[in-house]
């Protein structure tokens, strides 16, 4: 099971595009956190026994700003580690933070305790400070960017999450360049689909992806196989000929988010103010509400008729329930802006991948094709 613990509704920033609902003092109790962890292990073991899958749990800490509840995070992570060891379940832990409270000691603790860290940081100061502010209106870049020092190089177990928004899109490419210049190897560009995108912003977005593609290719030509999610994802899904069922999120099936109150939702993006009755699928105290959960699961997928016959349908994220819900009000109906983004990112990724493949770029071939071949066969002659 993929469990998200929203430790608090509170945050020390007031980012303009935040989807996590109003910021207040509601926080998760120790009892709720441990019940949720117990619930995740129980459900995982039950499913593993039923269908013969290996037992794996991923626990993601989210908010609000989860590092505001640092003690609860540490204690509950230790509790989960103990349970995983006792039950023989593989455990992955992640935390997504705005990085403003991530000092050297905390970064070291997360490293030692094998967390994968997501840093919500929009890139350079011009981009970041456009929308990521403290409550008093001050930009947060100077404080947040200091944490990047702990996550440099190819071995960092972290990614920097950059939110592309029509209000900051003009700085997107230079922000990616800024991050790459600081030895950040893992960058996730997450579009803000919850807002209207004027035509001029769409044009800037397309230009930015073109420029980021050039930067990406440049890194590979220097032997540095960086990850930029919109490129890596679309290249990988082309190579494997479409998303597999297990690539898609388990919205309400084995993907569950827990609000500070203990209410369960199918995705952390749905938690918001914790008032969405339509998509609440249970509580940690009582477990899943079978009827509500079945109704949510039944809605998954994409039923937009225009998508039938689209040549890139199998490479498209039209199945993302939370984005569909946020943009169209229906879990199973993809929005035009998502369609625009998917077509644009596929085109940009293919342009870069075709060039690197034509060059027989060693870093590109090793990253995207090596694993597809037995070691003894993955020699340059295969690609000749």
């Amino acid at each position: 099971m993929n469990l998200t613990l929203c430790l608090t509704h509170d945050c020390n920033l007031r980012c303009a595009y935040c989807y996590a609902g109003r910021k207040d003092a509601r926080r998760m109790s120790w009892e709720t956190a441990t019940r949720a962890i117990d619930f995740a292990f129980e459900q995982t073991l039950k499913r593993a026994h039923a269908v013969g899958l290996p037992s794996e749990v991923q626990i993601g800490y989210f908010g609000g700003e989860p590092l505001l509840e640092w003690d609860l995070l540490q204690r509950s992570a230790a509790y989960a580690d103990e349970a995983a060891a006792r039950l023989g379940v593989a455990l992955t832990k992640t935390v997504t933070t705005n990085a403003s409270l991530l000092d050297a000691a905390r970064a070291e603790w997360l490293r030692v305790n094998r967390f994968y860290v997501g840093l919500s940081l929009d890139g350079n100061a011009a981009m970041h400070d456009t929308l990521r502010h403290f409550p008093d209106g001050r930009g947060s870049h100077a404080v947040c960017a200091a944490a990047l020092a702990h996550y440099r190089g190819p071995d960092a177990r972290a990614e920097v999450i950059v939110v592309a928004d029509p209000r900051n899109i003009g700085h997107l490419a230079e922000s990616v360049e800024w991050l790459l210049s600081r030895d950040i190897w893992n960058i996730a560009v997450n579009p803000n689909f919850y807002i209207g995108w004027p035509d001029a912003a769409l044009s800037e977005w397309r230009e930015a992806y073109g420029r980021i593609g050039e930067l990406y290719a440049g890194c590979y030509r220097r032997g540095c196989p960086v990850r930029v999610n919109v490129f890596d994802g679309k290249i990988r899904v082309r190579i494997k000929e479409g998303y597999a069922a297990c690539d898609k999120c388990g919205f309400g099936i084995d993907e569950v988010a827990v609000a500070p109150s203990g209410n369960l939702y199918p995705c952390e993006r749905i938690v918001g103010d914790d008032t969405n009755e339509a998509l609440r699928i249970g509580t940690v105290s009582d477990g899943f509400d079978a009827g509500r959960r079945a109704a949510v699961i039944a809605c998954r997928g994409n039923t937009v008729p225009e998508c039938e016959g689209c040549p890139v349908r199998e490479r498209c994220m039209n199945w993302c329930g939370c984005i569909n819900y946020a943009t169209t009000g229906a879990v199973n109906r993809v929005a035009g802006i998502v369609c625009f983004h998917e077509r644009m990112s596929i085109e940009a990724a293919d342009r870069v991948a075709a060039a690197l493949f034509a060059e027989r770029n060693p870093a590109f071939l090793a990253k995207f094709y090596q694993a597809a071949l037995p070691e003894e066969q993955a020699s340059p002659m295969v690609f000749a």
Partner: protein
Amino acid sequence: MNVQKAETRVDPGYPTKRQLAEGAKAVGLAALGLGSLLAAGCAPSRTRGVIMPVREGGVVAQEPARLKGDIAVEPKREVPPQPLGGVRVEPAKP
């Protein structure tokens, strides 16, 4: 803005894994063993959920299938299936 079909594209300019296997066969590299990898693309195995296994200090570290808040979900990376009784993915130990 409405949903629109993509323009039909003939070839993105780089091969799929299947095309690569077919091409390799054509140049005489037999028995690449890709069949099992293709089958393993979504097979229940201990690599499920793993994008990039990294060996550190004797422990195979797992990358998350999806980071919280990250919507641009990547497909899982194809990794060769580990043999039965192979490296065990262990929970982290503090």
